[in-house]
Structures are given as C-alpha cells and as structure tokens.
C-alpha cells in the first residue's frame, strides 16, 4: 500500500499539481483579457457589440464545461479539416488552456462588467469634461477602480479554475487528477492517489484564499 508514496511518485503528482496550477493561472489571466474586452462590448452603445457579448457569455456559461473541452479537442480539428482540407493535431495542454480561458472569460465578463458599473458615474463625467478618451479613461481610472471591487470574486474564480482544470484530464493532459489516475492504474490502487490529489487540491485552494484575504486586508487598510 504505502509503497505507492515513493519520492518518484510524489514528484510525479507534484508535477501534475504544477500543471493544474499553471493551467488555472494562464486561464485566469487570458480570461481576464477576454473579460475586459467582452465587458466593454456589453457596455458599449453599439447593439451589435452588446449582442456579441451576450451570446458569448450565454454560450460559455450555459453549456457544460466538459462539453466545451471536448468540443475544442475533438470537434474543432474536424471543423478545421472540413474547412481547410488538411488535418490538424491538437495539443491537449494548449486546447485545455484555450477551453478554460474561454469559459473563465465568460464568467469574468460578467464580473468585470458589474465592477465597471459599480464605479461612480462622476468619474466618467470628470473624464468627459477634461476631454480624456475612452481607452485612457478605462485603463487609467475605471478598470483600476473596478478591479478593487471585484478582487474577491476574481479569487474565487481562480479557485474554481484550479478545480475545473481537472476536466482537462479527459483529453489526456497530465494534470493533477490524471496523474492520480495514472498511478492508480499502475498500482491497482485508486484510493491513495485520489486522496493525495485531493489533499494537493485543498492545499492550493486553501492557500489561495488565505493569501487573498491577507492581500485584501492590506488593500482596505491602504484605502
């Protein structure tokens, strides 16, 4: 039983945890960029842009994430082949990152939109009377203030991503859950690797919320 916890196996699992963490980090950052763009679209005066934003958000929030992962991994290559006539091979890590980012982008769109709307309208009006352009206003004034409001929900989005990155195990990316399954299969023992994976997930999520609470406290102090 216990001979499953060799240092090699532990390193193997830790590597998997690293992949999970990197996937989540990458997705939260890319998702944030997506979120800013689509939030701006949803808040714009143009009906078309607003519609595009809404459709994007609804699609990614309204379908199962596993379906999205499989769609990008198995569906998109077929689509690519139909259109271009040439094959493409999908890298599971890359596809996983894209799927997670797109999904998180939809949730972050709503978060960032509400954050932007929570910024005092007077800030926009001051910018308007000074002649400051929309992009400068967004970058210098509105987004920094919006993000201050939405850091807590962004952190829980990150925690969700750490857990949801386990869905990528379905397409063969060696992240934490799939690493546990590989060990389980090798030793005909799923219990210990799954418990170990669970503990590692917990370490990552609990540590993240602990750190974020500390940062938050410091930020409210500096306010």
């Amino acid at each position: 039983m216990a001979d499953i916890f060799t240092s090699d196996n532990l390193i193997f699992m830790l590597k998997g945890a690293g992949v999970s963490l990197l996937l989540a980090l990458g997705a939260v950052v890319i998702g944030c960029v997506i979120g800013i763009l689509f939030a701006a679209a949803k808040l714009s005066k143009s009906k078309l842009l607003r519609a595009i934003g809404t459709v994007y958000v609804e699609i990614f929030r309204g379908t199962p994430m596993l379906l999205q992962v499989l769609f990008f991994y198995l569906g998109v290559p077929v689509l690519y082949q139909r259109i271009t006539g040439t094959r493409m091979s999908a890298d599971p890590y890359m596809v996983g990152l894209i799927a997670l980012s797109c999904n998180s982008g939809a949730y972050q769109t709503e978060l960032i939109r509400s954050g932007i709307q929570a910024v005092d309208k007077g800030q926009w009006e001051a910018g308007e009377t000074l002649g400051i352009s929309y992009p400068v206003m967004m970058k210098e004034i509105i987004l920094p203030q919006a993000f201050k409001h939405i850091i807590p929900p962004l952190v829980s989005e990150f925690i969700t991503l750490i857990k949801d990155s386990s869905l990528i195990s379905n397409i063969g990316a060696l992240e934490l859950l799939y690493s546990a399954q590989v060990l389980g299969k090798r030793y005909y023992d799923y219990l210990d690797p799954l418990i170990l994976a669970g503990v590692m997930y917990l370490c990552m999520t609990v540590l993240t919320s602990y750190l974020s609470r500390k940062v938050e406290r410091r930020m409210t102090l500096s306010d």
């Binding site: 005092d120 800030q123 009006e125 001051a126 009377t129 000074l130 002649g131 352009s133 400068v136 004034i141």
Partner: protein, 243 residues
C-alpha cells in the same frame, strides 16, 4: 462668449428646461440661482454637453456647438472647464496625477510640462504641499480646490461650476469661494450654479433666476437682490434670507 438659444430639455415627461435664452460675455461672471429642481444643473450641464439638449442651440464664440461634428465639437468643449458638486476627483490617482492625466493624454504635453503647470495651479489654490496625497486624505474644501486646479490645467476660457460648495462643511465654503473669486478677478468667464447668495451678490456681475425650468428674471446682481421684479424671485429671496 456663450449664447444659448431656445434650449429645451426633458427627462421623460418632466420638462427640466423650457425655452432657455442666455448670453454670457467674455470675462463675465453669471450666477444661476433658483429653487431645487428648477433646472440650474441641467442648464449648466447642457452648456458643456454633459446632457444633450432636446432642441435649441448653443454657440461658443459665435460658433454653433454641433455633436455631429465630433472633432470640432471636442475642440469646443476643451475650452470649457467643469467643476462638480461632488468634486469627482479620480480616486485612484494622487492630487498631482489628477492634474496631469488630461494634460499628458489629451493636450499632448510632456510629463515635465504637465507637472510644471499642475504645480503652478496647485500652488494657486494653496495645495502644492498635497501633491502626493490621494483624494480620500483631503477635506472637502481641499478636494474642490484640487478639482478647480485640475480643470484649470487644461487652460479653459470658460469655467462652469455646478454647486461647487453645496457638498462642503460650512467652514470650508469660504476657501473655495475665495479661489473662485480670485479666478473671476483675473478675468475668467464663469457660470456658477450656487446657493451662496453672498457670493452671487458680491462677486457675480449678473444673476439669472430660474424656476420651473424657465428663466424668470435676470439682472445685474446688486439690482436683483435689492430690487427683484418678479413675484417668484421675491418669494424665493424671502425664503433664502433669514431675518
């Protein structure tokens, strides 16, 4: 300098402004006074374009302001500075950065030039030592003086004030009015919405009295206060002056 012709503005059913005609000459200080809800803020905001009038025209130095010509319209708006009741300082920026952002991003000045202008104007409102403070560390009076300096940094020809002292504690009203008076003495054209009757009487050249979205009466300030013509102005003045 500014000419408003047949300006109408409604919010849904509510007629906030009805057929407003107003002229402000260069160097003139005009106070807009009137009861709450009479349309003073709306008029002030329409002049700058923060509210879009339903109909009517606004001329700046003889040229019509026309939002359908965005480039020219933007240039015209740059000639006006605006001061809000609630200051609207950028809360995530220091006092100095508040004063520099538009200079560097709109007027195309270098950081050095922008900082020099900002410091000159902050010194003029007596707040040079607060350059690195964030707005939430300032008193209301200080915030409003920074807001005035920030607007002046863009070198406007006209300053519009929408109740600049209404959100202030009583002991801070004077420091802001002093800054405004000083501006007027130096020849700035100003339109001031205010409930400070002392300021309107002593500093303004002319008083425009609004009620129910209409200009009921306008007169040189001394004349308006000592000898109001309309019943509504008399009534208003009897309510605001306690004796």
């Amino acid at each position: 300098m500014i000419k408003v012709e047949h300006l109408h503005k409604s919010f849904g059913e509510l007629k906030a402004l009805h057929d407003i005609n107003l002229e402000v000459k260069e160097g003139e200080i005009v106070c807009l006074i009137g009861p709450s809800g009479s349309g003073k803020s709306t008029l002030c905001r329409c002049i700058h374009g923060l509210e879009k009038p339903d109909s009517g025209d606004i001329y700046l130095e003889g040229e019509r302001m026309d939002p359908s010509q965005p480039a020219k319209y933007a240039e015209q708006r740059k000639k006006m500075g605006f001061v809000f009741q609630h200051f609207n300082l950028f809360t995530n920026k220091t006092v100095l950065d508040n004063c520099m952002l538009a200079q560097t991003s709109v007027a195309g000045k270098t950081k050095e030039e922008a900082e020099q202008t900002a410091m000159e104007l902050l010194a003029r409102v007596g707040l040079a030592d607060k350059r690195d403070a964030y707005p939430n560390k300032l008193s209301g009076g200080q915030k409003q003086r920074v807001a005035i300096a920030r607007a002046l940094c863009m070198n406007p020809e006209i300053m519009l004030f929408d109740e600049p002292t209404s959100a202030l504690d009583p002991e801070m009203i004077k420091e802001v009015l002093e800054v405004m008076k000083d501006l007027g003495t130096n020849g700035m054209t100003m339109v001031v919405v205010t409930h400070e009757m002392g300021f309107a009487r002593k500093v303004a050249d002319r008083v425009v009295f609004l009620d129910g979205g209409e200009i009921v009466e306008q007169a040189p300030s001394e004349q308006f206060f000592s000898n109001p013509q309309s019943e509504r102005a008399k009534d208003f003045l009897s309510k605001v002056f306690y004796d």
